[in-house]
């Protein structure tokens, strides 16, 4: 949403001061040449980035270094070189202060099997510094919020995989953190549970009280919830994009699947003034003003090209991801 004053606006309005631009949010995560090494293996190599979004997605194939980056930000792994700051706190020197601001939902199983969900979440709240009474109250609230109200007195060891995911989320939010780090939050969830999890992430993000770092290899999860995305590959940043900006600027294009064409067909389309990209028997065409799909059909008919499929699309996160992986 733009707030820029338009030239030629009414005189009265022109004399008014333009509304002040909202202050740019503080960088949530700042990475400066951050490298992490286990033994002789470089896991993260010289990452430099400044992430400011309300919800930041970390994407990448398995082994790209997403979880290592999260664990480094939490102070679990020491950086080999470079530095990282979260909310301006250095991860090496201000670890305790930083951890007080963070809620973390780990990827793998993490629970105490002999404890009830209420006790577990209350204990985690108390370890974060909440007084006993408040911790108990917030533990109930968190479990109600994630949808485990009925099962909250059961031992966590008896829970299904989906319920264990919800307990992990409850313990991550119980102390009201400023930053929520979610590592593969929809792992093992059925479609409806996944939908509910995504809904909760949306709601927390939109509340403005917490910022989110979501690490996933499921593109849809990131696309549904994040406004900024960083793609990692083999410990390096291969792409960074502001999804909101991307959505705004992303032009609609025509995707055409065809048979029996040669280079002549794409050349003819380019002569119409279209931007064109050919991959095997698929063409991506950005139509300029004045050119319509019927012109494409006409060119195809003239060259005896059979069009199998034609539809309008926008670049999805999957396209961005695949492009980043190819690079």
């Amino acid at each position: 949403m733009s707030t820029t004053a338009q030239p030629g606006a009414a005189d009265g309005a022109a004399q008014q001061k333009p509304p002040a631009a909202p202050p740019a949010p503080l960088p949530l995560v700042e990475l400066q040449d951050l490298s992490v090494r286990f033994g002789n293996r470089d896991i993260l190599c010289g990452l430099t980035a400044s992430l400011r979004g309300r919800a930041i997605g970390l994407l990448g194939p398995n082994g790209a270094g997403k979880s290592t980056l999260i664990n480094t930000l939490l102070g679990f792994y020491p950086p080999h070189s470079g530095s990282a700051r979260v909310f301006g706190y250095d991860i090496r020197t201000d670890t305790k202060k930083l951890r007080g601001l963070i809620g973390y939902m780990p990827e793998n199983d993490a629970f105490i099997s002999k404890m009830s969900a209420v006790s577990l979440v209350q204990m985690m709240a108390e370890l974060s510094g909440l007084p006993t009474g408040v911790a108990l109250e917030r533990a109930h609230e968190a479990l109600f919020y994630v949808g485990l109200a009925e099962a909250r007195y059961r031992q966590v060891g008896t829970y299904s995989l989906g319920m264990k995911q919800l307990v992990k989320l409850a313990q991550a939010i119980v102390h009201g953190p400023k930053l929520l780090i979610l590592d593969e939050p929809t792992n093992g969830l059925d479609p409806s549970a996944r939908q509910r999890m995504i809904g909760m992430i949306h709601e927390m993000r939109d509340s403005g009280e917490v910022r989110i770092v979501l690490c996933s290899h499921l593109l849809r999860d990131v696309e549904d919830t994040c406004d900024e995305v960083m793609i990692l590959k083999q410990g390096r940043i291969v792409h960074y994009s502001d999804l909101n900006e991307e959505r705004r600027s992303n032009r609609r294009f025509l995707e055409v699947e065809f048979y029996g064409a040669n280079g002549d067909f794409s050349e003819a389309i380019e002569k119409l003034g279209c931007e064109c990209a050919l991959r095997s028997n698929r063409l991506k065409i950005i139509l300029p003003d004045g050119v319509e799909s019927r012109d494409i059909f006409r060119l195809a008919a003239e060259r005896d090209v059979r069009i199998r499929k034609l539809n309008f699309r926008r670049d999805t996160l999957e396209d961005i991801f695949l492009k980043a992986m190819e690079s």
Partner: protein, 285 residues
Amino acid sequence: MAVYRRTYSSYTGALTPAWSRWFVLFRYARRNLFRSKFLTAFFVACFFYPVLCLAAIYLAHNLAFLEQIGAPSGLLVIDNKFFFYFMNVQGWLAFVLTAFAGPGLISGDLANGALPLYFCRPFSRSEYVLGKASVLGILLSQITWVPGIILFVIQATLAGPSWAWDHLWIAGSLIVSSLIWISILSLLAMALSAWVKWRIVAGALLLAMLFFGAGFAQAINAVLRIDSGHFVNIAYLMTTIWNSLFQIDAERAIPAVEAAIALLVYCGISLGLLMRKVRAYEVIR
């Protein structure tokens, strides 16, 4: 039924002091421990011998009653040997209690990957170990030096200030010998449970370490014709130190100082093993 808010809300209230957080772990671990009826019953049974000792002290100061039953006058003497035997009995009970209670303290967290949940908070690994060790520390103190000191105070009250002054060193011996035993037992139990991550196996290993350790030490001594084999026998090392602290004349194969150094090394190794395993995530290099 309370109606709970179903929205996300941040917390802006007061926080507890950071130094007190390890106590949270102590409270929860202790509560979990006493859910076991067997452990609770055993813990209560550990007070049987101190009560017996209390009766003995009472009888020792009731000469009229002893004369009535025709007991010889020197039958009940409350001295360093009396407290040495007390320490031996309670020390072994402490060992059995540790074998039951100790391994479950950490193995559950490790087996279910709960450590990242602790360490993603403003809570350090040392605080975690302190919180868990304090459960055993306080539990074992309750059956060793605390009743020992109570018995000493009662004896001192009945025998008079001169006895108390002459035997004050016994109180010190009770505390020091208990604390050494508690430290070695707690660290061993936690280190073993951290490495095997299975409560029952860790308990069995702890028992085996003491019982097989004695046999192994004897075998080494017999085959190699040396006395150094005793260094692998933790119970022998501890008894040597107790003998020295309670001034008991007994032939020991190794000096008390060397036994103390050996136990210190065991404590260091256990702590090292423990700190190696108690991490949010294990790095595979």
